[in-house]
Every structure is written in structure tokens, then in C-alpha cells.
């Protein structure tokens, strides 16, 4: 009875640890290919467009509405302490440090990790990955490295755009519904925002981009057979990337701001 209970607890724990080990080994193997030729510039360019440019609308919409909602919440909370004037600075700091990178990262995880896992998973089950090998092309170099590099470089740019649009969302709500003066709102935003508020968010963005591409590629290349296998790989990539983004966000916030 107790042995069965312990076994029931142990099995998923071992499964999770084994999955962590596999992802880590995969990441190390990919990193070992990062600086060694051949480099596939065309695939890199394609990945930049897919991950960066095509994610812009969804990241922008998310940031716009989040910035607006944040302004309303901070105004309502601040009014309890007669501190309504903090709205511009808190919206800016909140967007730059946390909500910009985390929500941007999660939206990219939903959009990009799923699409990478589905695309590579389909290539795996239709033997296109094997075909690459027989055509003397390393799938890690051809499929994974360009996507990983592109995601790590473009997600910080998406975060920067998201931060700006989020702050603009707060400003729009501030001047239209909360009776802020436009110039005062913008001055408060600029005065209280420090370089590291933005910098830390961009570093987080790079880490989240790396996680999104890594999980998409890992689960895609290890996809099971058939439509169900690709479906499971896609789901696992999104869930894995989202959980890792939130955990990494906590760790990085602790490292950057715990002093």
C-alpha cells in the first residue's frame, strides 16, 4: 500500500526530472553547434520574420490592453491612499520590468513554440528530418540553430515594442478616462523610469525567446507518430515553454532586484 503510494508519487517526479535532463542535454548540444559552420542565413532570416515580425500584432495588442488595464487598476488602488499621481510611473515600471517581458514571452510561447513544434514535428513524422540527414544536412544546424538564434535576438525587440505600446495604452487611458494632463503623464513616465528597468526586461526577453525556441524545437524533433504525436508535441512545447518562462522570470527577478 505505502510502496504503491510512493511509486505513484515517484513515477511522475522521475519523469519530470528525466524530461529536464533531456531538454538540458538538447540545449547543450544545440549550443555546441551555434558557432560552428555551416550557417544557414536564409533560414535565420526566415525565422526572424516568422518569430519577430509575425508576432508583432499579437504582442502589440496584448501590451496595449494590459497597459490600459494597469492604469485603471493602479488609479483605483492608488486612490485609496490619495496616490493617484503614481499611475504613470508604476505603469511604466510595471510594463518594462514585468508585464512587457512576461506577457510578451507568453504570447510568443503560444504563437511560436506551438508553430515550431508543429512544423518540425510534422517534418519528423513525414521523414523530412531523416531526408535532411541523408542529404548531408544536420537537422540541429539547419532547423534548430537559426530558430534559437532568431528567437533570442528578436524577442527582446518585441519586448521593447511591447513596453512602448503598453506605456502608450496607460497614457491613452490616463488622459481619456483618468483626467491626467498629457504632458505631466509623459514627464512622470520618463522621470521615474530608469535604464535598468528597461534593460532587465530586455534580458528577460532574450531568455524567454531562447526558452520558446528551445522547447518548440525539442518537442518537435521528439514528436511521436501521426497526428496525435504532433498534437502532443505542440501542447507539451507550449506548456513547457510557459512554465519555464514563469519560473525563469522569478529567478531573474530575484537575481536582478533582490538587493
Amino acid at each position: 500500500m505505502i510502496a504503491n503510494l510512493l511509486a505513484a508519487i515517484g513515477r511522475p517526479v522521475i519523469a519530470v526530472l528525466a524530461a529536464c535532463g533531456r531538454v538540458t542535454l538538447f540545449a547543450l548540444e544545440v549550443l555546441s553547434h551555434l558557432l560552428r559552420p555551416p550557417f544557414y542565413l536564409r533560414e535565420f532570416g526566415h525565422a526572424v520574420m516568422q518569430i519577430g515580425w509575425n508576432s508583432l500584432p499579437v504582442v502589440a495588442m496584448t501590451a496595449l490592453f494590459t497597459g490600459g488595464a494597469l492604469a485603471l487598476q493602479i488609479y483605483a488602488g492608488g486612490s485609496r491612499f490619495n496616490a493617484e499621481s503614481v499611475v504613470p510611473s508604476i505603469v511604466a515600471i510595471g510594463m518594462a520590468r514585468e508585464l512587457g517581458p512576461v506577457l510578451g514571452g507568453l504570447m510568443v510561447a503560444a504563437r511560436v513554440a506551438s508553430s515550431i513544434a508543429a512544423e518540425i514535428g510534422t517534418m519528423k513524422v513525414t521523414e523530412q528530418v531523416d531526408a535532411l540527414v541523408t542529404l548531408s544536412t544536420n537537422p540541429l544546424k539547419y532547423l534548430v540553430v537559426p530558430r534559437l538564434l532568431a528567437a533570442t535576438l528578436v524577442v527582446p525587440v518585441l519586448v521593447a515594442v511591447g513596453d512602448s505600446i503598453g506605456i502608450m495604452g496607460g497614457w491613452l487611458v490616463g488622459i481619456s478616462r483618468l483626467q491626467f494632463n498629457s504632458a505631466v503623464y509623459l514627464k512622470n513616465t520618463v522621470d521615474f523610469l530608469e535604464f535598468w528597468d528597461i534593460g532587465s526586461g530586455l534580458v528577460k526577453g532574450a531568455a524567454f525567446g531562447f526558452i520558446v525556441a528551445l522547447m518548440g524545437c525539442h518537442f518537435g524533433l521528439n514528436s511521436g507518430r501521426g497526428a496525435q504525436g504532433v498534437g502532443t508535441a505542440t501542447k507539451s512545447a507550449v506548456v513547457g515553454a510557459s512554465v519555464l518562462i514563469l519560473a525563469t522570470n522569478y529567478l531573474l527577478t530575484g537575481v536582478f532586484f533582490s538587493s
Binding site: P38, T122, M123, T126, E127, Q128, D130, A131, V133, T134, L135, S136, T137
Partner: protein, 248 residues
């Protein structure tokens, strides 16, 4: 020449290959027959290094594939996959010219396209097909594009994985004829896996039958009908009754 000695492979509890001994002389065409799930594809993938065998040795021209430079080895191979395995995101000519545009001897784009169109013509496809995407082609056309890609770099050894599966009898005949012509014309060594007996008779110089993880029978195609192996006879005549269980 390709030589396999005691090649074994297990997936979990499923022992797929139990010790394969097989040799294929240079310039010959061997067809490996056997029921579904008997490990024919695994055998090809072991030779190509896509699957690592648990035991045994695979020699290509006397050199152990495990100890040979992989890129140099793969450069000598061409492979036609069962479903074509064409890259969806690329146009037909880019698929055919994939190998030609990479590596130390990479051709310029225009020349690679010319070669691709020439190979497409060789497999009976018009130049207009070159700019289409694989999804716009029929199953038979996809197979021909796969064949054009397999022969594009003029490999010494070509593998065909179930080349006629899913095709109508006429298209199967066309593909069989093309394979035979191309192999003879290029002087290539060919290994084909199939359970289509028409293909076997059209393509093979030699036949090997894989059953229960072992080579059950091997010999020239001309000796296949006269062979007294009951497993082989059941398979080539498609009998439901015999030593091979019909439910596996």
C-alpha cells in the same frame, strides 16, 4: 559493396533485427521483401546511420560506417522515402537541388536549377513543375520528384523505401521502370524495400526475404519462384495460410 554482419536492433522489448547477415555487390540491385513491421525500413536506416544498431557491423566498400566520416559517406547515398519526404516549404526545383546547393562543391543557384530541371525531365516531369510546391502535386508526381532528388547528385548507392506504395498500378509500373532504367544507366548499387511483388520482379537482380528479424532467404530473382522455402513461397504468392502468421 555493402556488407552487414550480425546487425541487431531492439526498440524497448521489441527485438526488430536479430542478427542480419547480408551482402550486396557493387552495381547490383537488391530488393528486400518481408511483411509489414518486420524491420525492413529499420535495416535501411541502420545502413544510413539514422538508427544506430545495438550489435553488428555495417561495411560500405570494406569500411565500417561507424568509423567513417559521416558526411563523406552520406554524400555517396541517395534515398527515395516512402512518402517522398519532400520539404513542404520549398519549391520542387529547390527540393531536387537541395544537396547541389550545399557543401564544398555547391553549385550557383542558376546552374543548380538547370540540373534540377534536367533531373525532373529524366523522371518524366515537365519544367513547369519546377516552380510548384510539393502540396500542389499528385502522389505519383511527388514520388517522381523524390526520385529526382535522390539521383540529383548522381550517388553511387541509392535506397528506395517502398517506392510504389499508395500508387495506382500504372503509376507503379512507371516508377518501377524509371528505377530500373536509372539504376542501370547510372551503374548504381541499389537497395529497395517493398512488399509489392511486381516491383520485385521489375527492379531486382537479387532478392532477400526478411522475417522475424533474420534473413530467411536470399538469392537471384530468377531463383525465387523455384526456391523451396515455405515462408518465401507463402509471401510471394500472397497466401493467407502458411508458416507466416497472418495476424501479427
Amino acid at each position: 559493396m555493402i556488407e552487414l554482419r550480425g546487425v541487431a536492433k531492439r526498440f524497448g522489448t521489441n527485438q526488430v533485427l536479430r542478427g542480419i547477415d547480408l551482402s550486396l555487390p557493387k552495381g547490383q540491385s537488391m530488393v528486400i521483401i518481408g511483411g509489414s513491421g518486420t524491420g525492413k525500413s529499420v535495416l535501411l536506416k541502420c545502413i544510413l546511420g539514422l538508427v544506430r544498431p545495438d550489435a553488428g557491423t555495417i561495411l560500405v566498400d570494406g569500411q565500417d560506417v561507424e568509423r567513417t566520416n559521416r558526411d563523406a559517406l552520406l554524400a555517396r547515398f541517395g534515398m527515395l522515402f516512402q512518402g517522398g519526404a519532400l520539404f513542404d516549404s520549398m519549391r520542387v526545383w529547390e527540393n531536387v537541388a537541395f544537396r547541389l546547393r550545399r557543401g564544398a562543391k555547391a553549385l550557383p543557384k542558376a546552374r543548380a536549377r538547370e540540373v534540377a530541371v534536367e533531373k525532373l525531365r529524366r523522371v518524366g516531369l515537365k519544367p513547369e513543375v519546377a516552380d510548384l510546391f510539393p502540396a500542389e502535386l499528385s502522389g505519383g508526381m511527388q514520388k517522381r520528384v523524390g526520385l529526382a532528388r535522390a539521383i540529383a547528385a548522381e550517388p553511387e548507392i541509392i535506397f528506395f523505401d517502398e517506392p510504389t506504395t499508395g500508387l495506382d498500378p500504372i503509376m507503379s509500373g512507371v516508377i518501377n521502370e524509371l528505377i530500373r532504367e536509372i539504376v542501370v544507366e547510372m551503374g548504381a548499387t541499389a537497395m529497395t524495400i517493398t512488399h509489392d511483388m511486381t516491383s520485385v520482379r521489375a527492379i531486382a537482380d537479387r532478392v532477400a526475404m526478411l522475417h522475424d528479424g533474420l534473413i530467411r532467404w536470399t538469392g537471384p530473382v530468377s531463383g525465387m519462384d523455384a526456391a523451396d522455402d515455405p515462408y518465401l513461397q507463402q509471401f510471394i504468392h500472397g497466401r493467407a495460410k502458411g508458416p507466416i502468421e497472418s495476424v501479427r
